[in-house]
């Protein structure tokens, strides 16, 4: 059915001609022919220009952008920014906001690497925001479609903008063909748009608009996933180099600090007259001055004072300090100067009955003798009229007697009127009662504050203030070199060692997972992998070389270059000097702080010296192989507690030994597997002696198990040699094989030739092997000869006399624990767990990133498809028919 307009007469109606026509009117729809405009006014080129892609313009606009952003910020602040400036401020805000968040988070951790990683993370995120579209979208789009969808231009106002930022606002007339990538015809060719169609540029522009919009949409869709994933991967990749760089920088910084504190502690002036005021002494004197007028120090203030002075000391030193200081205050009021602390509380307490006799007469005392609060006040006001007893006051013996006399008078008044018999009894009771009061008042000694005490405590504070300042630097340096935190030298190289070990042994992710889950599996696969490596000369050499290199690098990082004096030695000497010289300074004050001195150094101050003549001796000390215990000046025990100085030093070498022992054990394990790879050479003499290789195989198997799994607490179970002392001795002698003709005092392990060759020729690496030999020799001397872990001590000891050469400290279970290091099986298990976690995270994030990239790239091949391509064909035909 046809539609009838309501006013069908309107639109179709033509006017009836009325004016005289001056010319013939030919219907305009019949007009034809091409109207060329070659001679006509052409539009002016657009104001502004495209930014060409080259390094010069990149640098130029980098600085221009910063300038513009600053201007925008200023205008934004003044409320005069335009839309474009506000848009730019969004980016500035993002960066500033990100920086603020990173800065805040950085303040929440003391770990420098974690702090730095907050900013690295932000940088990686911002970089990913910028790089992701460039790599995944812009470049492929340019290759596929022939133009840059991220093209920038300068508009007529001089502002930099993105050409395709708004698909409805594209300044196409800036594509003037100054470069091929800016020539619409060339772009059209790349898009495969026929040359001979009508209005080709229009189609090219439409395609550019469409492709850019599609790509921008793709960007928006994928950026949310890709940007954080990329940022995560980038941060992960940057972590190690940053860690290394930071460690290098910080190592240099702390080496300098060690040098400074070394010189400072070495040159400490021991004269008490040269001591200078410091913050600790200022605080302490301020407190004491407050009480000088009253002449005594309240007990609570003494506690406070000790807390301030003894802050950061260990318990033993702190106790000694407290004891010494208290004694100083108390002895100042002895003899004729004896004073007692008197206040309301003490006075009231003195009225309580303390002796059994008096307690038995309590009812009588309460009824006839006991003085009331009012009476107590009247006594005090009579004897000490101006005293403020709420704060207390020091009273001398005379004043004490006066108080007792006044109390007596009060009591006398009460009992005067009583019967003589009763009175006599009460007189006796009164005497006992008064004596009770006097005793109690006399027991409350005053902590006297006078000029002399203040002077000594002031000096003490100056000395300990200096000590603490040095100690603060020492502890920071010590922490950086040896603490457990991930950014420290030891921990950093432990991580490197662990990663290298895993890499060279080559585990799949599945294997890592199973190792993490099962100790048995860890042992099984480790044994298998080590056996394979032992049979492969090239692999073996590579593994050993790499691990030795890492240990050598760590030594270098710890001690400094081989050409200079060991930094750690200087650190230890600084610890010694700081304690020794502080103790000497305290001694110079008089005999006030003997306890403190002992707690700090526990040595004869007149003969205390540093005894590390050389780096070599110092390193021996670090590894616990100083042969003669009598040479050692570090005694760890003072009634069961080490001196403050020794504790700090022990902290260093125990941590050092704990780590290096784990490294050495891995190397020793490799060496054992290498030697065991040929049963004929492992122990030929024993094979002959016991008629066959089966015995040797048993030794090998037990040796492998031991080296992989044995620890200090369960030798018996691991070795399973309880009832076979001979086998045990053969096992130990083959497992910890010693060099022949070795110094009997300092035996050295004998390494296989392959291990020696693999370690390389460098001095540092050779030094590592030398220490490994020492380490093996020390284990050989101590572990099998220790009687603690074996039931049949004589059967299971190779040469018990050897132990006499080692000090007690070396023979403790803790020392053996440090010496044995971590079992390779556990080492692998821990390392595999960490590696598995990292790999899994990387595979998830990497998978996401790769998938997003793949989808992003593939999607672009579908962009820019021309709908109804037949229309183009038709236009070609139409055009050619004209």
């Amino acid at each position: 059915m046809a539609i009838h307009s309501i006013q069908s007469n309107v639109e179709n109606t033509k006017m009836q001609p009325s004016l005289k026509q001056r010319r013939d009117v030919k219907p305009y729809l019949e007009a034809a022919g091409r109207i060329s405009t070659e001679q006509n006014v052409k539009p002016l080129p657009g104001q502004g220009h495209l930014i060409h892609d080259n390094p010069v313009s990149s640098v130029k606009y980098f600085f221009k952008d910063i300038n513009y952003d600053l201007k925008s910020l200023k205008n934004g602040y003044n409320g005069t920014a335009n839309d474009h400036q506000l848009g730019r401020l969004n980016d500035v805000g993002l960066k500033l906001g990100g920086l603020s968040i990173a800065a805040y988070l950085a303040t929440r951790t003391t770990n420098p690497k974690a702090r730095l990683m907050e900013f690295v993370g932000l940088g990686a995120f911002l970089a990913s925001m910028s790089l992701y579209p460039k790599i995944a979208i812009n470049k492929p789009a340019r290759i596929i479609h022939g133009f840059d969808i991220d093209k920038q231009y300068i508009d007529d106002q001089g502002r930099k903008k993105s050409v395709f930022q708004d698909s409805n606002y594209i300044p196409f007339d800036l594509y003037r063909g100054e470069k091929k990538s800016e020539d619409l015809d060339v772009i059209g060719d790349r898009m495969g748009i026929p040359r001979d169609i009508v209005n080709r540029h229009d189609l090219i522009k439409e395609q550019m608009r469409k492709i850019a919009t599609q790509n921008n949409t793709l960007w928006m869709l994928t950026a949310g996933l890709a940007t954080p994933a990329m940022a995560g991967l980038a941060s992960c990749a940057l972590e190690e180099p940053i860690s290394n760089g930071l460690a290098h920088y910080r190592n240099a910084k702390y080496n300098n600090q060690i040098e400074e504190v070394y010189n400072l502690t070495k040159n400490m002036d021991l004269k008490t007259s040269s001591l200078k005021e410091n913050s600790l002494s200022k605080d302490v004197v301020k407190i004491l001055n407050k009480y000088q007028k009253e002449g005594f120090l309240p007990e609570t203030e003494l506690d406070n004072l000790i807390d301030i002075i003894a802050k950061d000391f260990d318990k033993a030193t702190k106790d000694s300090l407290e004891s010494d200081i208290r004694r100083l205050f108390e002895t100042s009021s002895k003899g004729a100067n004896q004073t007692y602390l008197f206040n309301t509380e003490i006075f009231a307490d003195s009225l309580n009955l303390s002796t059994k006799d008096l307690k038995a007469r309590k009812n009588v005392i309460d009824k006839y003798i006991k003085i009331s609060d009012e009476e107590l006040k009247s006594v005090v006001s009579k004897v000490l009229p101006e005293a403020d007893l709420s704060k207390g006051r020091a009273i001398n013996s005379q004043e004490l007697d006066n108080i007792i006399n006044e109390v007596e008078k009060v009591i006398d008044k009460k009992i005067t009127s009583l019967e003589p018999e009763a009175k006599a009894f009460l007189e006796r009771t009164k005497k006992s009662y008064l004596l009770n009061i006097k005793d109690k008042l006399q027991s409350s000694k005053t902590l006297v504050v006078n000029e002399e005490v203040i002077n000594i405590i002031n000096k003490l504070s100056m000395i300990l203030g200096d000590f603490r300042a040095n100690q603060s630097v020492i502890e920071k340096c010590q922490s950086f070199k040896f603490a457990h935190a991930p950014e420290t030298i030891i921990a950093n190289y432990s991580g490197k060692f662990e990663r290298a070990f895993l890499k060279e042994l080559g585990f799949t992710q599945k294997e890592l997972f199973m190792i993490r889950e099962s100790t048995d599996y860890a042992m099984e696969i480790l044994e298998k992998r080590l056996s394979e490596i032992a049979k492969d000369e090239v692999r073996y050499s590579k593994v050993v070389n790499k691990l030795v290199n890492i240990i050598a690098e760590m030594e270098n990082a710890l001690h400094g270059s081989a050409e200079t004096e060991s930094v750690i030695k200087k650190l230890v000497i600084a610890i010694e000097n700081n304690s020794n010289n502080t103790a000497k300074r305290l001694a110079n004050l008089g005999d006030y702080f003997e306890g403190t001195i002992k707690s700090m150094v526990n040595e004869d101050l007149s003969s205390v010296v540093n005894k590390y003549e050389s780096d070599s001796i110092f390193k021996d000390f670090m590894e616990g192989i100083l042969a003669n215990a009598r040479d050692r000046n570090h005694k760890l025990e003072i009634g069961g507690v080490g001196s403050y100085k020794d504790l700090q030093i022990a902290n260093i070498f125990e941590r050092y030994q704990g780590s290096t022992s784990s490294f050495y054990r891995i190397l020793e394990t490799l060496d054992v597997y290498k030697r065991a790879s040929d049963v004929n050479t492992y122990a030929p003499e024993l094979a002959k002696k016991h008629k066959g290789t089966e015995y040797v195989n048993n030794l090998i198997n037990a040796g492998k198990k031991t080296i992989l799994d044995a620890n200090c607490s369960d030798h018996m179970n691991k070795l399973n040699t309880t009832n076979n002392g001979d086998f045990f001795k053969d096992l130990i002698n083959t497992l910890f094989r010693l060099e022949k003709n070795t110094d009997s005092f300092r035996p050295k392990g004998a390494l296989s030739e392959a291990t020696v060759n693999a370690a390389g020729e460098s001095k540092a690496n050779k030094s590592v092997l030398e220490r490994l030999r020492n380490h093996i020799g020390r284990i050989y001397d101590i572990v099998p000869n220790n009687k603690n872990d074996f039931v049949k001590e004589n059967t299971h000891r190779i040469n018990p006399d050897k132990l006499k050469s080692y000090d007690k400290m070396t023979r403790t279970e803790k020392a053996i624990f440090d010496m044995l290091g971590q079992e390779p099986t556990e080492f692998l298990k821990g390392a595999a767990g960490r590696k598995y976690g990292t790999n899994k995270w990387l595979s998830i994030i990497g998978g996401i990133t790769a998938s997003v990239f793949a989808v992003t790239l593939l999607a672009q091949f579908g962009f820019g498809k021309i709908r109804n391509p037949q229309n183009i064909k038709k236009q070609v035909n139409d055009d050619s028919s004209k």
């Binding site: 009325s18 004016l19 729809l29």
Partner: protein, 622 residues
Amino acid sequence: MIQVNSTIFRNDILNYYKPTFKNDKQAENVGQDSTMLTNSLNAMAASNVVSVKPALKSDFDYKNNLRTMIQNNESVMIAIAPRIFTAEDTNGDERISLKLGEKPGTFLSGIERLDELKNDGFNTIHILPIHPPGLKNAMGTAGSLYSPARFLEADGTLAIDPVLIDKNDSRTPSEQFKAFIDECHKRNIKVMIDLPSCASIAWFESEPELMAFGRNGEDKTPQGWADIRMFEPWEDETKRTLNPKLLEMHKQYVDACIDLGIDGIRADVARAKPTEFWDILIPYSHTIDPEFAWLAESYTYECASPQVNMPYDRPEDLLRAGFDDYYGQYHIFHEWKDAKEFNDYIKLNLDMSHRLPSGKSVIGSFLTHDDVSSMTHGGENYCNLTTIIQSTIPMCNPYFVDGFQSGDYYDYNYSHRNDTETVTYKITTREEFKEEGLEEIYDKPEGYQEYQFSPMDEDNDIVKIPHYKMEHHAFKLDIFNLSRKPGGNNPDIGRVLRETLKMREDNKDLFADRNSSFIVLDKKGDKKDQILAYARHNNGRTAVVIANKNPNRNLTGTIKVPGLKSTQNLVNMAPKYGEESRFQVAENEIRVDLAPSSAYIFEIDTPNIENDRKGNVFKQKV
């Protein structure tokens, strides 16, 4: 639910749209109720007669010089929409109800306001489009003025909206329009007609050869203007060859205009056609009438077009292609945050003039029919401020919109409500038709008769329904409906306008002459830079203009006027309005305390001011 008195409605529709046939027999065939139609027409004729003698051809000497006037900044324009120019809204509901006997404006009735315009100081009328609006999917109940059903009739004359024609006058529509033009010319008022940039949907469908299509056959609707479609000026834009049919139509349009004695064309959205198009059409017009003037609706340089399916705006290209003046940006004067932006814009135009043939100019477009009423920016005082500013700035032909003279807010109380009368219609789908509950009405036996629904086109699943909504752009002159005559409640704006334009006419050497320089004056104490201060200087005469841009508060400051003597007597050349401002003359400066939106013009004796303000003196190309 649509409630209409069907009989009245249909008759009114027919009355309104009865074609202006000379022969009533033709008309009889159009509507069924011819008796009623005739009666209605007779009734309207009785009240629509205008006592103006129709003129088939001009019987007086007249020569167009509009182009020269514009080049000399002497044209003072007012935009009018004829169908509302003299509309009679007897019941005060602001809309014109034909069924109630209210009358829209016609060309002939418009003549009665020409003396008023002349008296106000206008010498050029910009007539908004006169063509019959396309009614399909149109805006409002009368259709947009800028959505023409066609430009030309078959005989080459201008197509004229029937509503503009006095049905009781025996003259043809063209003759009636000619009569109006002649009356303008008799009063030395130039006539500039509005050439719409686009076509209505009905026209788009009927003459696709003229229209722009996407590569996949889709129409091209300028973003935001749903009732119109783009012409296709190109045959091949890449090769820059033009659409011969469209160009020919525009040539015939120019012919028709010049035949009627029209003095110039205001090209709506001039950027819709390319530079080359205008560079052919405009010179063509000059071959017939060298004084035929061209005003481009063009605002400012755009890097790219923010409007889909519409090219970017490039005023300079349009002026190079032959336009004599363009709209410019004064319509955002209220948004400029300080005097610097104002001065910079003037300088930008003066600078551009030197890259163009001399005489190119801008209109004082502080208010156009596309802008919200100046009243909304600061009331009466703000309107007066814009009058004085545009009368005193260089390179400017003042421009106003009908209604401004008395402060019309263009705030119609029927806005967006439904009317019971309409000529526009929508094509909707059957489904939408059902959703709106209209099917029920349609299904009644009297459905079509009652509600004027067209029968359904079941094959195409579409329904045609009347469009009753009186769309209107808030605070803008209504171009979509039959509305009241423009006008507000602030007649003093008209006084200020008259006196200002008179003052300008008397001092053309200062304010219109291209030789008159524009001198930016320094200030101090005007922290927010809200005081406009400039001088015009020509032939030794200097006028200084001082105005407060802020419509809300007084401003104090000191205007530096080099060469000014402390004895200078300040006499305001501009009409007085608003609150009092205070001035104090000192050596080389004027200290001011300006009332909100106040503006003053003082002639001062500073013959050397151009030398004294070197570097701040700007001139239009002479």
